[in-house]
Symmetry: C2
């Protein structure tokens, strides 16, 4: 094997010379076109491996305007929730020979807009973004680009293109109704990092409680700061202080917070679930292993990612003429998983 030279990059032409064919033929082989005679193909392949040739994607994208690139925007990498979504995306994209360019928007529409701009500069064939609430400019760019866009995680009011997710409002309401049905009467809400989806959950909570005349704003404790187990503990202390202990259950915006609440209850010798009910959201693996096991809401994170990716592929591959109507909203649903932390 000839040692490749660092610094001088090999091109189609180098391979072509080595294999005694034209660059065009090499290009065909590289891209797996059928119509190349077998012996020529083998000769080219041999040259490629011998030289260690790696095609230049920029040149290829520029010339063909096919990038095989999917852009993904998520608001946080540290949130476990997005990992599963990402796995769903990668598991579909990579085997299909697509690449994923991932941006973290840090829950900021401004950063999101910046990311969209850079992303669009790469001629992506599809974009997956989180929820609604994009800036006006971002939305305009997206619409002008003609690139398929999927908004994931939550149901959004006025989707840009396609929407895959579930109604956080409904989920919040369902949890609350279930708590009411278990005869908890003074239900609180704890939320951190209140993004639109968290707000929707809260709205569902308030809606459900209002319906039974059980809403007391003193029992709603939120913070814009990031979510964590320790934040859950401290918000719980705040809740108890605010209400002077007049509270018999809490719906936590996610499981980390709920785990913190559980821990704090133990420290304060509050009997869960008899005297106090706790319900989380997301149903992370730890929920089932908490003590007592945490009630939560299971959402199909992986499937949100994979379905988003799949519908993008459908849209990419559909012939422009036969516009068979693709759905513009896919509901991935949710499920209450009531365990030992609620009656």
């Amino acid at each position: 094997m000839t040692k490749p030279q660092a610094g001088k990059r090999l091109t189609l032409k180098d391979v072509a010379e080595k294999a005694q064919v034209s660059p065009m033929t090499v290009s065909r082989v590289v891209n797996g076109y059928e119509g190349v005679r077998a012996d020529v193909r083998d000769k080219v392949h041999a040259a490629i491996t011998e030289l260690g040739y790696i095609p230049n994607r920029s040149a290829s994208v520029l010339a063909s305007s096919k990038s095989k690139l999917i852009g993904v925007l998520i608001p946080s990498l540290s949130n476990v929730v997005f990992n599963d979504v990402l796995r769903g995306i990668y598991d579909i994209a990579i085997p299909a020979n697509y690449q994923v360019l991932l941006f973290n928007t840090h829950y900021s529409p401004i950063e999101e807009e910046r990311a969209i701009r850079t992303l669009l500069g790469q001629s992506p064939e599809g974009l997956i973004i989180t929820g609604g609430g994009q800036t006006y400019a971002a939305r305009a760019m997206l619409e002008a680009s003609g690139v398929p866009v999927v908004q994931i995680m939550g149901k959004v009011d006025d989707p840009i293109d396609i929407n895959v997710g579930f109604s956080h409002f409904d989920a919040g309401a369902a949890v609350t109704q279930s708590l009411v049905a278990k005869s908890y009467a003074k239900i609180g809400f704890i939320g951190a990092r209140m993004d639109t989806r968290a707000c929707d959950r809260l709205a569902g909570f308030e809606y459900a409680l209002s319906a039974v005349n059980g809403l007391d704003k003193k029992r709603v404790i939120t913070t814009p700061q990031p979510s964590s187990v320790s934040m859950g503990a401290s918000l719980f202390r705040e809740l108890m202080a605010n209400t002077e202990g007049d509270c018999d259950a809490v719906f936590c915006c996610n499981d980390d917070l709920a785990l913190g609440v559980l821990h704090e209850c133990k420290k304060m010798h509050i009997n869960v679930p008899e005297k106090f009910g706790v319900c989380g959201f997301n149903d992370i693996e730890m929920a089932a292993y908490a003590e007592p096991a945490l009630s939560s809401v299971s959402v199909n994170r992986y499937s949100m990612g994979s379905k988003a990716m799949n519908i993008i592929f459908q849209k990419i591959n559909q012939q422009d003429d036969k516009v068979l109507a693709l759905p513009d909203y896919i509901d991935t649903g949710f499920e209450l998983v009531m365990r030992k932390s609620t009656r």
Copy 2:
């Protein structure tokens, strides 16, 4: 604002015509060159925003061979550990206007090799890969490419270029010695998804126990399957069955497993830490909130990512002539955090 046409992409020339300057001038403005007269710059900027022009990166990369792209290869997205590392990487790369292309190798050197090949096709300016153990071909490509490569997570024997991480062997040995010092005498090991780093931890464990004549292979339980809380529980049952209960502590390869062990101990009414000591690895947030609080090993994940990224930048920016020696190994260290799950 003129509505941009979907489908027909704007180019430098379009902007140039609109602004009545040459494409080159537009290029300079887009790239923020100083030497453009203020009024011209403003005129160009106006044209850019009015048209909604977004530069074509493929063309730019092709022409300039500067990609502002960093490739990152990690073995798993679902493992929390890599999230923190990724955050460290993104937090340095993005503000510096670099993009990150992320690949998941699924712990497979073959997938890793494939990813490296595609990555190298994008002319990345730096690569961050996980640990050692690359295929021969992968290593050859990497070396031939001349691109700065950082191997992160663990200390590797024969680094390709730069290595950022810590010695998992030393960490494993340290944990074990600490357990011995706390007079645990029959110490077991539980590990899932035994990658090279997990194996190094195990080797450290075996080394430390051999030194005090305490190693019994029956107490080493591992599986190639993925790690999880429930896997920890089931490996623990296996450990107890294998040794007929003749075991008084366990070093778990990570915290998820350890949490599963803790849960199982509670179910089996095994007194932790008196009768049985449990130590995890990684010190994830939940560790401190477990019951009893989990002893673990804290490693600087975020810092592994950020330091890897920083040293790549140093290498990119260093003048080729004054080759001020950059370190080829950066030790990010580790720290035992002994809590209530060990005596």
